[in-house]
């Protein structure tokens, strides 16, 4: 029973990492007043760029750099449309999702001729699990041993980076001048402008942060979670991340818990597929898969507290006309 729980929590951690990075990415963007439906697309672009670069150079870190580059590029495209040109932010995000979904398969087929996949990555082109110090030594200790050796140790470096991003994001948003201004520009851009700070430049920096984090999320998917890129490998995670962001009410630490919850649902659905529970019987996998979305809708209905988005979210700032 305890073993099952540990392995369930272990896969929860693995499955929440991409969600967490994407969710924090959305946090920067949306807190600055730029809605981002395109998390999915940027993550997919990152995953493809990471796997392609790692396949060609044989280095996982080059892959990460390529992922960040690709995702930041699309973040800037989104910024160009929604900040500079004051276009509809949702339309822009939808467009980016489609462009990336098509272009990754198209380029993948043209470059590698494997039906839109990238070649299988091995060795240094992937991120392997890191065994933390003393993990093997304490494995025998009851309770604490397995928790340290299985749950905390034995993940790839990107997992630790992702969880380190949570306190870092909190510190940036709530303890630095940049963070204060970023939050202010999402609530009342006119006030920020009056204080002599550029709304445009601030929002651009926020979408760049968003790009970096979605790039990391994509790199995790194709370099650590799977050995390479496959068509449409984000599989809606960008939207689950968006749901988690709403669930967390646009705050970093709750965002982590929301992503862990959604990751847990995913892990649970995989572990107990076709398993018959006492009293309720067999739970259809499809219900478990739909649960994050159903929970978010219930939350949006206002039954579990109210989710209030940043006030200026989705609205382009017009300085003067």
């Amino acid at each position: 029973m305890f073993d099952v729980l540990i392995s369930l929590l272990d896969s929860t951690v693995r499955l929440s990492v991409a969600l967490l990075l994407a969710c924090l990415a959305g946090l920067y963007s949306e807190r600055s007043g730029v809605f981002d439906i395109g998390l999915e697309g940027k993550m997919l672009a990152g995953a493809f760029a990471a796997a392609s670069a790692a396949a060609v150079t044989g280095s996982a870190w080059v892959g990460v750099a390529a992922a960040i580059f690709a995702a930041v590029f699309f973040a800037l495209v989104h910024g160009f449309a929604s900040i500079t040109n004051r276009g509809n932010q949702i339309v822009s995000g939808v467009a980016i999702n489609f462009i990336v979904a098509g272009a990754t398969v198209l380029l993948g087929q043209a470059w590698f001729k494997e039906g839109g996949r990238t070649p299988q990555l091995t060795g240094n082109a992937r991120f392997d699990a890191i065994t933390l110090p003393f993990a093997d030594a304490v494995r025998g200790v009851p309770v604490i041993g397995p928790i340290y050796a299985e749950l905390i140790s034995g993940h790839s470096i990107l997992v630790y980076i992702a969880f380190a991003m949570v306190p870092l994001t909190w510190w940036i948003l709530f303890r630095t001048r940049f963070g204060l201004r970023l939050r202010a520009v999402g609530e009342n851009p006119a006030a920020v402008d009056t204080a002599g700070i550029s709304v445009t430049w601030l929002r651009y920096r926020a979408v760049i942060c968003c790009g970096i984090l979605t790039g990391l999320a994509g790199a995790y998917l194709s370099l650590a979670q799977s050995p390479g890129f496959v068509k449409d490998m984000t599989a809606g995670r960008g939207f689950v991340a968006l749901a988690a962001l709403i669930f967390a009410k646009w705050k970093p630490v709750p965002a982590m818990f929301a992503c862990l919850l959604f990751g847990f649902l995913d892990a649970f659905a995989i572990r107990f597929q076709g398993y018959s529970f006492p009293l309720i019987g067999q739970v259809p996998t499809q219900l478990m898969q739909a649960l994050p979305y159903i929970l978010t809708v219930i939350l949006l209905a206002g039954f579990i507290g109210k989710a209030i988005p940043p006030k200026a979210g989705g609205v382009a700032y017009v300085k003067e006309r």
Binding site: N85, G87, A95, I99, L106, Q286, L300, A301, R321
Partner: protein, 379 residues
Amino acid sequence: MSTPYAKLPLWADYGLIPLINLTVAFLVAGFVVMLVGESPIEAVQLMLKGAFGSGRGIGYTLYYATNFIFTGLAVAVAFHGGLFNIGGEGQASIAGVGVAIVCLTFDSILPWWLTFPLAIAAAAIFGAAWVLIPAWLQAYRGSHIVITTIMFNFIAASLMVYLMVYVFKPDGQQVPESRQFLEGANIPSLEPLLGMLGITARRTPLNITFILALVAAFGVWLLIWRTKLGYEIRTMGLSAKAALYAGIGEKRTIIVTLLISAALAGMMSLNPIMGAQDRIQLNFAGGAGFVGIAVALMGRSHPAGIIFAAILFGMLYQGGAEIAFEMPNITREMIVVIMGLVIFFAGALENMFRPFVQTIFASIRPRSVGLDPKPAGEA
């Protein structure tokens, strides 16, 4: 909120600017084709040949266009009310369940001309039902329709897998789809009609749903520009505050607009289910709900524009298959890229070239942009 841009003549607003945006989108698409090492000009030739080169090609082009007219109208009706219904895909999927229930129940009892109206009603009702909760949440709880309809797309996708595997799939069959419909659910093909126009089109799935789509387009035009409800929808879309001041019930209008929108998206399901496959399959909607966004943006939310844009996308779908067959470096995903580029340039960047066009107009004909310079010497 007033538009931050000065006025242009109508023909420039509805003709020139969309044309510039589309041209740029297709130029970028051509660049992508070059990037994968193929010739864009050859690709266009192949596409036109695939889409219009044969009777069968024309049939398929119009068959795909039928789907996109419905989903495009669905997005457009919501746009007029200032709402973004991104859930067409989910609404069409669930509507398909309604169509399948009608067909599986009556296909052995009733003739097609009785089954078809029942199926139309079922498609509209099931589609509209799938937007009821998002619409109610938008109207009464202030949650954002975009987010809720995205969530409902995913819920619909899971529900469809469940229904296909556990409800519609006959015992002893592996493929997740229903049994084939009988005679009573076979709607007429439009092959004889194409034949009268001198086009021989054998084995195309084009069917009378295409006519229904054209009727729906006319209906949407009537609704938006010739009825009280349409006036209310447009007022709400232009200014929610003005609508409130004019005594238009905002909550009611939001819900009614979204119900109409989702019913139109739902009617798309008639075309593949009754017209082509004669059964309900998983993923029968095939992304048409999302193409509707591109079609509505490209058609400037006007039914005539939408029919034109839907045929263009039908051409891309059918001709794209031809390109993917002939050019080894190009896959069907090229269509998805083009769709994304159209959404980006015709939607998100619709105002990028406007200042430039305005400058030109202002220097050539100042009066056309509302400037009225005094003749020299009078000042």
